[in-house]
């Protein structure tokens, strides 16, 4: 196999897109709609801009130390001991993300298709291909993500049927829900864009022509934001906002209501296709957490780490048994994610200013 362990800018693009897009997109329109009402798409656009700024910060930080991984930079800035502590919190956080990702996957499947199938079976069948993929090196994963990306337009294709009888009036008046509602809508919108932090970890593998190629990767969030904005607008011209709020999976609900000449219930077909996308997002996180563990323990190979992390994630995700418990877990995890995606990289960047100058003094 290709031992170079190096990816191109476009591969980075797809890696990040596939980390961001998961089962979340199926429920995201009503999560944001609850807060920002008919202006949810504006919140999404604003969130997209914010995330783009965060990505710029990542690029800035990473291109300062092109030789190091993100954890390498953290260690450099805070020293090895603090660095290790930060790394282990990252590991815990990513296991949390894995658990959240698995439980929400299971919840979707259990409410829409397999109501009676035991949870552990669904999760087991989900983890086997995930392990199989995540134990490989980054090049293979990136190729897999590019390969399955043709599944993304299926969502657009199916939802396009809504535009036969759209109610654009439901989007009006634009800005009618008020500035404060739009701004508080940014919060759930950023949460739905989560996954962009993958940039911190995957950008390291872009080695040739770094500046230009990283910019391609940064386009990923712009793509996902517009993809999400399309989904939000489509659900809102189909549902009245008051209805949208009570429908937790609006995207699937639309598909359930569509009827074609031969096909009915395309939501079921769609979920089976979308499982692959959900899986792919999970694989990214699994790879990143195994990678974190590898660097934390200073090992050479991440394959064994994948198994260890997976065991934790699997049993962890069996714990939350009710919908309410799952929601509470999410409510804790999401604000915490801001610490790991924004606060720590930002602090690292600040510290790195001083570090660099210190280094220069030394060499001088």
């Amino acid at each position: 196999m290709n031992a170079k362990n190096e990816i191109t800018g476009w591969q980075l693009f797809f890696l990040i897109v596939q980390t961001q897009v998961g089962v979340g997109i199926l429920s995201m329109p009503s999560d944001i709609g609850k807060v920002a009402k008919q202006d949810a798409w504006i919140s999404m656009m604003l969130a997209g801009i914010l995330v783009q700024l965060i990505i710029l910060m990542y690029i800035f930080l990473l291109s300062k130390f092109p030789e190091d991984t993100y954890y390498g930079i953290v260690n450099l800035c805070f020293g090895t001991i603090v660095g290790k502590v930060i790394m282990s919190t990252y590991l815990l956080y990513f296991i949390g993300v894995l658990i959240a990702s698995m439980t929400s996957f299971h919840h979707t499947i259990a409410t829409w298709i397999f109501t009676d199938t035991p949870k552990w079976i669904i999760l087991l069948l989900f983890s086997i291909p995930a392990i199989y993929m995540a134990r490989e090196n980054i090049v293979l994963i990136a190729r897999f993500k590019m390969l399955i990306s043709f599944l993304l337009p299926i969502l657009i294709f199916v939802l396009a049927w809504v535009y036969i009888q759209p109610q654009f009036l439901y989007l009006l008046p634009i800005g009618g829900s008020g500035v404060s509602a739009i701004i508080s809508g940014i919060k759930p919108a950023i949460f739905s864009l989560m996954g962009f932090e993958a940039f911190l970890f995957f950008a390291f593998y872009v080695k040739t022509d770094r500046k230009k190629e990283l910019r391609k990767g940064a386009l990923a969030t712009a793509f996902v934001t517009s993809f999400y904005a399309f989904t939000i607008i489509t659900t809102q011209v189909f549902f009245h906002i008051k209805e949208l709020i009570v429908v937790p999976y609006p995207v699937l609900y639309i598909m359930k209501a569509l009827k074609f000449t031969i096909l009915e219930r395309i939501d079921l077909l769609f979920i089976t296709i979308w499982m692959v996308i959900a899986l792919s997002s999970f694989i990214s996180y699994l790879y990143i957490s195994a990678n974190t563990m590898e660097q934390l323990l200073s090992k050479k190979n991440h394959t064994k780490m994948v198994y260890i992390v997976m065991v934790f994630a699997f049993f962890g995700s069996l714990v939350p048994s009710s919908l309410l418990e799952m929601k509470t877990f999410m409510q804790v995890l999401l604000p915490v994610s801001l610490i790991f995606t924004v606060a720590i990289p930002f602090l690292t960047m600040i510290v790195s200013f001083f570090k660099k100058s210190a280094k220069k003094e030394k060499s001088a």
Binding site: D116, T117, L125, E243, R265
Partner: protein
Amino acid sequence: MKKMFLLFICGAALFLSSCWDERLLKELQLVYTVGYDVGENGEVDVTSVVPPLDPAIKNDTATFKTGHTLRDARYNADLNVSEHIDYSKLQVMLLEDELAKQDIYSFLDVLYRNSRNNLNARMAVVEGSASDILFQPVASQKSKSEYYSGLIESAELISVLPPVSLQTACTLMFDPGGDLYLPYVSYDKEMQRAEVKGLALFNEKKFTGKILDPSLSTLFTVMSNRQGDVMRFTRKYTENEEPEIANYMTVEPNSSDVSIKVKGESALTTYIKVKLKLNIVEYSPNHILAENKIPAIEKWWEKELEKDSEKMIQVLKSAKSDALGIGRRVSAFHPEQWDEKTWKDQYVDMPFEIDFEVKVVGTGIID
């Protein structure tokens, strides 16, 4: 390592062979048509029509059960059938008019909540009891369970009814700027058939008791831009021709363009502009083209349709039903004047300007 993994895969494959969620057709009794009535003590009477299992039996059977909720009644219905009763292929549900006068969302909730249900099912309000109608025989129809959905779908085809599925009904119920409307069906004892009587108008989630009769509901379908494949208007054009039938003219619009706008500063007015292109399909005193009658005919149809539309708006207003979704436009374009609570009073007093623009584009293959 590789061998271990292969073994693991083989082991995992064992899990795939069994299925917790299988539903075999032979163990299910599929219900296509269901009727809801208000029972005693606020219970719900559910009448389910099921196709016969034994091919030797010609007629459908109807089971009738009572329960506190719909689910409860269905649960009880399982006591009467040898299979498990299943509503996932439901095609039509009939609501008793008395029941429809209550908040009907409570009756429909179960259908939206269960992921197995078919959201394309049709609904209708029936005159009198739904269970009575479902126990009545239907002439020349082998399968009663598919009759009612066909009845409604054929009325949609000729544009007498706008298509309303469970899903569209749900959106209309939640939308404060628009009201629900459903087909209104009654049973004709002499003909032994049911009949679409027009469109039942709702105020928010409750049936008002007011109905748009088929000629007006066709106009409504045009204005809400939901017409089917065929649409026809027949009106009396002249008074003195012999025989009587020669006085009537039938036209088929082949394209329509509707714009509904709400304008005004302090007092809002609704402007409805409809452009129709007609084909004259039946008019026995010929020579329409030769005598250059077309401009006169166009004028006359414009007047006639405007008159009828006024009538239709009056019915809508008397029912306090904003079925055309005028409120949606007020909230979108005049948010400062939009108030969910007082909207209906504002609506009843709102002036409507209706303008038809008719163009005759064809007269068939004779003049």
